[in-house]
Every structure is written in structure tokens, then in C-alpha cells.
């Protein structure tokens, strides 16, 4: 698409105009001030379809400056089509910014469904794309009602939902998007990250910003904030178990792995979901 080359001539730095940026930043500040609270904002259309990360993109575009270094991942991968698409767009409309695949080099990381394996620092921001900002939606479809439930701390039904799962299936069925309690107050949807990544939110050094474009909500987990998965004393929270499987490429067994079916007979291998971390490890190990 050659036409995109001229985009700088027509649009503001980072695409959206300053008025909208200010509005999004105000929402971000409010979100940081009230950890886990969903701040409504006037989400604008982006040149992407709703549901393809427009919330995350609006946050990224509102906070990015020409000295920032951006990394974009989808399912942990820097090279998936959606990640490439977003990266390409942000780079085009924000002249001067750096692009990287290395987690340690980035100042802003936009992600869908994963938190990088390498721990993040206080000078880094993770922007998560969110399809369902409302953790209580599973038990209550109405927005009016869920807002009331948050306001009153009326979370009995959410807990009951978990309890019923334990009674019926022996454990909670929620696999990803595992609800968490932030700062001992709001119940929050951590976006569809696997349970593997949930502990990374707790008392982290970095700032986490969550953007839901279609649902028009922004929320945040500030650095050093307590984030606890909803769990029972006698049924502890459990992350995914790969039964000792190792990454076929880098050999790691302490990372989140993707299972790949190789043959029709069902033979499978496992690979790191965080592709840039996997690459780095291979380089270090010389494989």
C-alpha cells in the first residue's frame, strides 16, 4: 500500500489530533488514580476494525513521543499479522520513534493476550488490548447493573460463579481472562492473557494500561499494586501446566508454550509463545 507513505502529510504526529489525545490522557490519569476502575472515554474510530486493538492503539498513540521505542506483540509474537499491521501504522504516523522486538529495549509495548516473559522495568509501559473490559459480564450482562456491583463491592455472584465451577468440575473453568482483584478493591478483567501471566501483574515495576476501544473503557494497574487472582484458600490459583514439555527451539521449560500439532496422527511439539525471548535464548545458547 504505497499510499500510506504520504500519511504524515495529512495527519498529526501519532495520527489522532491533540484534543483527542488530551482526552485519552485524562482518562489514563484517572485510571491510574483509581486502580482497576474502568474509565469511560469517547473512543474514536481508528483505521482498523473495532476489536482489532483500537483501544490499545488509542492509548499508544496518545502517550507515544518521538523518543519512544515501540514493540508490538500479538499472542506473544512480534511477527503475527496483527502485530505487524499495528506496528507499521504507528511507525508511519509517528515519525522518529524507534521500533524493536527486544522487550528490554522498548519503552512502550502494545500487546494482545500476553505479557512478555522478561520482567519489565519502571521506565516501561505495557499497553494491553482488551475485548471485554467487564470481568463481571460473565455473571451479569447489563452495564447498569455491573457498575452498581462495582460501586457497592457487590461481588458475591462472581465468587459464587467460581464456587459452582468447583462443585461441578472440581476446579474453576476460567482458563484465560482470569478475574483479579486490584488493590483489594475492584475486580478487574486482566484482558485475555493466560493464567501464566496473571502473577506478573502483581507488585510489578511497570505500568499496565488497558484499552477497550469497542467498549470505550480505559483502566490501569499502576506500578507496585497488589493484583490477586480470585481464588479459594483450599483451591489455590494454578497456572497452566505443560507437564515438563520444552520449547522445541530453545529448550526452555519455564516459559508459556504453544502446542503445535505436526501430523495427522496427532504428534505435537511445543514452542515458546514469546518469540523474541525464544530467539534471544537461542542466540545466547548458540543453537
Amino acid at each position: 500500500m504505497k499510499r500510506l507513505d504520504h500519511i504524515e502529510m495529512f495527519y498529526n504526529f501519532a495520527f489522532i489530533n491533540d484534543e483527542v489525545k488530551r482526552e485519552v490522557r485524562r482518562a489514563i490519569f484517572k485510571a491510574i488514580a483509581i486502580p482497576g476502575y474502568q474509565v469511560p472515554f469517547g473512543s474514536r474510530e481508528m483505521p482498523f476494525a473495532r476489536g482489532w486493538g483500537t483501544g490499545g492503539i488509542q492509548i499508544t498513540l496518545s502517550i507515544i513521543t518521538p523518543t519512544d521505542v515501540l514493540k508490538v506483540i500479538d499472542q506473544g509474537s512480534d511477527e503475527s499479522v496483527n502485530a505487524e499491521n499495528i506496528k507499521r501504522f504507528v511507525a508511519r504516523v509517528s515519525p522518529g520513534i524507534g521500533i524493536t522486538t527486544d522487550t528490554t529495549q522498548a519503552t512502550i509495548i502494545q500487546t494482545r493476550h500476553r505479557i512478555p516473559e522478561e520482567p519489565m522495568r519502571s521506565d516501561q509501559i505495557l499497553v494491553l488490548q482488551v475485548p471485554y473490559p467487564e470481568a463481571l459480564r460473565e455473571v451479569e450482562p447489563s452495564e447498569v447493573e455491573t457498575r452498581r456491583m462495582h460501586a457497592e463491592g457487590d461481588y458475591g455472584r462472581m465468587w459464587l460463579y467460581l464456587y459452582e465451577d468447583i462443585v461441578r468440575f472440581g476446579e474453576v473453568r476460567i482458563s484465560y481472562r482470569y478475574p483479579v482483584r486490584v488493590n483489594e478493591h475492584y475486580i478487574m478483567d486482566p484482558s485475555p492473557i493466560p493464567r501464566w501471566d496473571v502473577p506478573k501483574l502483581n507488585m510489578a515495576e511497570s505500568l499496565f494500561l488497558f484499552g477497550a476501544g469497542r467498549e470505550k473503557r480505559i483502566y490501569a494497574v499502576p506500578p507496585f499494586t497488589r493484583v490477586e487472582p480470585l481464588t479459594f484458600e483450599d483451591h489455590p490459583f494454578r497456572i497452566e501446566n505443560f507437564n515438563g514439555a520444552k520449547c522445541k527451539l530453545c529448550g526452555s521449560f519455564d516459559t508459556y508454550l504453544n502446542e503445535i500439532i505436526m501430523t495427522e496422527a496427532g504428534e505435537r511439539i511445543f514452542l515458546c509463545s514469546d518469540t523474541s525471548y525464544c530467539k534471544k535464548r537461542r542466540k545466547q545458547l548458540g543453537v
Binding site: R50, W52, Q75, G170
Partner: protein, 368 residues
């Protein structure tokens, strides 16, 4: 077994863009011109302008061509473009009494002051495919066009303005006056603020006017069929051009800067058990261009969502307004095509654990 990780997302994207364009242009026909779409597929253009929330037949035509005729995609292109434009001013309120009418009907009365004007519509055609389109040569088309121009003479005698049926009934006290914005108060703007419920009427009207035609029709149809029937009668449907008037930024005087085509529908609904004098209630619909299905559906839904004790889906304001936006729903539907393998891996983990527990046939809640 060797394994090479799949990479090269960027290359793949570019290739798929090229393939889409090859698909569009691989036939022998000449590329569509913007003016052709604008003039000959004007109903499609009108629909896209409405759902895209931007009145520009030209840009809408580009969007239609660019998207290969996908109304969802075309509306998204328009909306995304709209975000980059500055809002110069807010136009002044107008009354549709001053509409330059091209079509106007009422099903409430046989005869109405000013008369029923059928205008341009396919409503009364016999639905047989025009097979001659397959063979018709250029000269046939020229002849047909001359014929049409002759016939058009008679259409030029339409009066400049028509009385509004609903207004006449309102003056007689037969129809309620729905709660309106206090004059001078700016309407709610859903493009700038996130909706909360119950929404003000201006927000309801704006959401519905930008809604997806098929979505509006589906919900309105559910009401018509009996899920919360409001027993509508089409008071008046009019299509035509209304002036676009803005206040001069310095002296505040009103200036007409152009006109836009709109469709307006007013449905009259049965009266409710009332405290006080029983009156018909009404629903209002208006949208860009000529899109009668949308205007009527909107009018029905506008009335439905103001029902005091909602029971049916179409009466539930939050339900209706949260689900009728085409850009939002298409985006979310499309996003399921994005990879979800990280999440599915997590699903697999949960399922296997549950299966193991089941196989061990313990009482489920007795955690090991």
C-alpha cells in the same frame, strides 16, 4: 522432526492486499468511476453515509469502490476518515417542514393535505429481473434516458413545503409530545462521550441514526412480530433535501451552506394506560440519504426503548443501543479471525485437568 517457525507477517499482509485487488480487477470490465457509484448506486451510497456517520456522497463512493462493495467495510472507512476531520461548527436545528420533498406518504389517512407523493421508489415495481441489462447496447440506453427526461417534466410541479401530518394531530391533542432537549441545550454526542444508561433522548436518536440498517431492521422486526409490539402506524414518511444552516462565527447570523438528503419517519403508536388524558405516543426516525427501511425501523425502536417497563429485547434500551452499531459489531465478529492460540492453549490445560479429575472419578469438589 524439523520445525521452522512461521514468520514474515508483514510480507503476508502485503500479499493479501495485492490478492484482494487482483480479485477485484481480474475481470475485463473497466474500473468503476466514483461518479458512477455516486449516481447509479445512490441508495448504497446513502446507506454507507448513514452508517459511516459522514455526509459525503463522494467519499462514500470511494469507500464503496475501495471495499469491493462491502457496506460494513465502506462505513468503517468513512468513520475512520471522519475522526481525522476537525469539527468546525454545529449546525443549527432545522424543521423538516421546510424539506424539499421528493417523496412523502402517510399510511394513517387516505388523503393528506398536500397529497401523497410517491416519488422515486422501487416499492411499486414488479420484481422481475431486467434481463435486458445483459444485452442492452449503448443506443438502447440513450433512448431510455430520453424517455425518462420527458417523463420528469411532470414531477417538477411539487410544492416547496408540505404540512406535517403528525404536527396536525399533535395540535389536536391526539399525540403526546415526547421529552425533548430544552432548546439551546447541546445534544449529547456519542462520538465524544461514552454512553451511559438510561441515555438521554438525543443520544438514543444519534445511536440509532448511525446504526446498521440490518441490525435496526432485525430488532424493529422482532417488535413488529410481537416481542413488545408497539402497534405502529406510519404517520408520515418523507424523503427530500433539508437546508444545512450554520451560525456565522462572528456575527451569529444564520447562513445556509448547502443541503443534505434525509429520510424521516414518524410512527404513531397506541396509547398506554395513562395518568391523565390518553394520547397516542410516537416514535421518530431520521437518517442520511434515502433509506426508508432504516428510518422506519429507527422510529419504531426509538418508541420501543422509551417503554416504561421493558420486557422484550427491542424495549431494552441498553440491549438495543449496545448492539446496533455496524462498525462495532462487524469489528468484533471479524476479530475472531485473529489468532487465539495462547488462549486456546489455556483452555486445553483446563479441560485436560478436568478430564483427569473425572477419570479419577473423585467427587469433583474434593480437591487433591
Amino acid at each position: 522432526m524439523g520445525y521452522v517457525a512461521v514468520s514474515g507477517g508483514l510480507e503476508a499482509i502485503e500479499q493479501s492486499n495485492i490478492l484482494f485487488n487482483i480479485e477485484r480487477y481480474k475481470g475485463k470490465s473497466r474500473p468503476l468511476e466514483v461518479s458512477q457509484v455516486k449516481e447509479q448506486l445512490y441508495l448504497l451510497v446513502d446507506r454507507v453515509m448513514g452508517e459511516g456517520g459522514l455526509y459525503s456522497p463522494e467519499l462514500a463512493s470511494i469507500a464503496i469502490i475501495q471495499s469491493g462493495g462491502d457496506t460494513f467495510e465502506a462505513s468503517l472507512l468513512l468513520r475512520a476518515h471522519r475522526v481525522t476531520l476537525s469539527r468546525l461548527t454545529t449546525s443549527l436545528p432545522i424543521t423538516t417542514e421546510r424539506m424539499r420533498v421528493i417523496r412523502r406518504i402517510s399510511s394513517a389517512f387516505q388523503e393528506i393535505p398536500g397529497g401523497q407523493i410517491l416519488g422515486p421508489t422501487t416499492d411499486y415495481t414488479i420484481r422481475l429481473l431486467q434481463m435486458e441489462l445483459l444485452i442492452s447496447p449503448e443506443e438502447e440506453w440513450t433512448k431510455y434516458r430520453a424517455l425518462l427526461e420527458d417523463a420528469n417534466i411532470r414531477l417538477k410541479n411539487i410544492p416547496r413545503s408540505f404540512p406535517k401530518i403528525v404536527k396536525i394531530l399533535k395540535e389536536e391533542g391526539l399525540i403526546e409530545e415526547p421529552e425533548n432537549q430544552a432548546s439551546g441545550e447541546p445534544p449529547f454526542d456519542i462520538t465524544k462521550h461514552s454512553l451511559t444508561f438510561p441515555a438521554p433522548r438525543s443520544a438514543i436518536l444519534q445511536s440509532l441514526a448511525r446504526g446498521e440498517t440490518g441490525g435496526l431492521l432485525l430488532l424493529a422486526y422482532s417488535s413488529m412480530r410481537g416481542y413488545g409490539n408497539i402497534h405502529p402506524t406510519l404517520g408520515e414518511l418523507r424523503v427530500g433535501y433539508v437546508p444545512l444552516i450554520i451560525a456565522h462565527p462572528h456575527n451569529g447570523n444564520p447562513y445556509t451552506v448547502g443541503e443534505i438528503k434525509v429520510t424521516e419517519a414518524e410512527v404513531i403508536s397506541r396509547y398506554e394506560t395513562a395518568e391523565g388524558l390518553p394520547r397516542f405516543s410516537m416514535g421518530y426516525g431520521a437518517c442520511f440519504g434515502q433509506n426508508e427501511i432504516k428510518a422506519i425501523s429507527m422510529a419504531i425502536l426509538e418508541r420501543c426503548v422509551r417503554t416504561k417497563n421493558p420486557k422484550a429485547p427491542a424495549e431494552d434500551q441498553e440491549f438495543v443501543l449496545s448492539h446496533i452499531d455496524g462498525i462495532e459489531s462487524m469489528g468484533f465478529c471479524n476479530h475472531w479471525k485473529l489468532p487465539h492460540y495462547v488462549d486456546f492453549q489455556s483452555d486445553l490445560d483446563r479441560l485436560r485437568k478436568a478430564q483427569n479429575k473425572w477419570r479419577a472419578s473423585k467427587k469433583p469438589y474434593e480437591e487433591a
